[in-house]
């Protein structure tokens, strides 16, 4: 039976479960150490949660094809952006269900455009950043369920991070956020509406250029405001800042709330556009990894392709679509 994904600011149960679930996954030993992954620094336990950090970083550093000048990788800056993150969310959701022993648990989303309709000052005071939800800003974050407490080894800690070259190394520090420092405001609802008006899903040059297509706008490379540097999904990462900036951005549990909302927006687009996807498999090898029947970079292997995730109604639904 399909689970329902709900707004974290409107459903206390979804909020409580998500926080409890990610904290449990952060404490759960995956059976691996940083040494097993060749990550320098003191060899420490890799939690199940930290596997998602490594997965995102490694996928982001996998160019498709190798050395392409557009920087298109196996999860970003190309058509597979939405399908890859959909698979990642489903795998996290499955782990949350397992660790909390609740098969009805649905991943919550953060409708950041609702906050984006407020003034920049109010956006930073959203209920999301209260100590009863995701906690606030800072280096480290000091309030809420992900606050750093030096004396408490069970408090939320970043255990794997990357250097400027993209090399992972082990760490032991608190979570960082710089709300509103990188860009003053979140996307607004009208920006979501305008993204949903765009068809087709993607088009030439299939990258992070200024082409008018849904994927490019939703990922954030095609701002409708020519003066804006960051848009939609990218803008949310930049607005939160801190650990949401590098490729290890799943270190912040807000990562999944952002991407669940991005997935919700894609689901809305799919429902309005016949669940279509491009490019097809007749596209050239330079788009390998992004075509409709290409395997998505995931533990599901060759069985999981963009085509397989265009209709996920048997697995989950959203309580409301934009």
């Amino acid at each position: 039976m399909a689970v329902t994904r709900r707004n974290i600011l409107k459903n206390a149960t979804a909020r409580t479960q998500y926080i409890a679930g990610v904290k449990a996954l952060k404490q759960e030993d995956s059976g691996q150490t940083t040494g097993n992954f060749g990550i320098p620094g003191p060899s420490i336990m890799i939690s199940t949660y930290d596997l998602f950090v490594i997965w995102h970083q490694r996928t982001m550093m996998t160019m498709t094809p190798p050395n392409n000048p557009s920087g298109r990788n196996a999860a970003h800056r190309g058509p597979v952006f939405h399908p890859w993150h959909r698979v990642m969310l489903m795998i996290l959701e499955s782990n949350l269900q397992r660790v909390l022993n609740d098969a009805t648990l649905g991943l919550p989303y953060w409708d950041w455009a609702a906050d984006g309709n407020n003034t920049p000052a109010k956006q930073k005071k959203s209920a999301l950043w209260k100590k009863t939800c995701m906690g606030g800003s800072g280096d480290p974050v000091t309030i809420g369920p992900f606050a750093f407490k030096a004396s408490d080894p069970a408090s939320w800690r970043v255990r794997v991070e990357a250097d400027v070259a993209g090399n992972l190394f082990s760490a032991n520090r608190g979570l960082r956020r710089t709300l509103g420092a990188g860009t003053p405001s979140l996307p607004k609802k009208v920006h979501v509406d305008h993204a949903l008006d765009l068809t087709p899903y993607d088009k030439v040059d299939w990258d992070a250029s200024e082409t008018e297509a849904f994927r490019n706008r939703a990922e954030g490379w095609n701002p409708e405001d020519p003066l804006a540097q960051h848009w939609m999904h990218n803008r949310v990462h930049v607005w939160i800042g801190g650990d949401m900036s590098p490729g290890t951005s799943p270190n912040d549990p807000v990562f999944f709330l952002n991407h669940c909302n991005v997935d919700r927006i894609w689901e809305s687009w799919l429902s309005q556009n016949g669940r279509t996807y491009v490019p097809g498999n007749s596209a050239g090898a330079f788009l390998k990894g992004h075509r409709i029947d290409d395997p998505i970079a995931s533990p599901l292997g060759g069985t999981m392709t963009p085509r397989q995730v265009l209709d996920v109604s048997a697995t989950y639904v959203y309580d409301a679509l934009p």
Binding site: L51, T62, R77, I91, S94, D163, E210, S298, P299, T303
Partner: protein, 135 residues
Amino acid sequence: MKSPHLADAASPKKLATYLLKLPKPSMHMHGGKAESVREADYKGHHIAIRTTYQVSVDGRVLNVPLGVDNRGNVHCHSLPNYQFTSAVDMVKQLIASFPGQFGGGKRGGGHGGRHGGMHMGMPNRARRAGRKGRK
């Protein structure tokens, strides 16, 4: 997708096994140089433009995977949500986004660091030279 298939693939053991088998990423960098080749066809001619970035901060060579696309936008794999029309702006953003990796800065206005460049992504030779220089 059927739930049992998803639940099986989602197990920490399966995810870890998958990650351990991934090839180590290659960023086409040699000795602190990041290279990208832009290609296009125009009126029967084939254009190839090879661009090499060699970045240093405070005199230290930085291994940083910069690239430039056909529209001239500069991107960096280490900062997946940013791109700029200027490589200088990208390096400024790297300094802002990796506060622990650049030290305090000599000219003010920088971000405080606590690791003194331990993880600056420098080539080994440059890292060794940097250690010597601090003696």
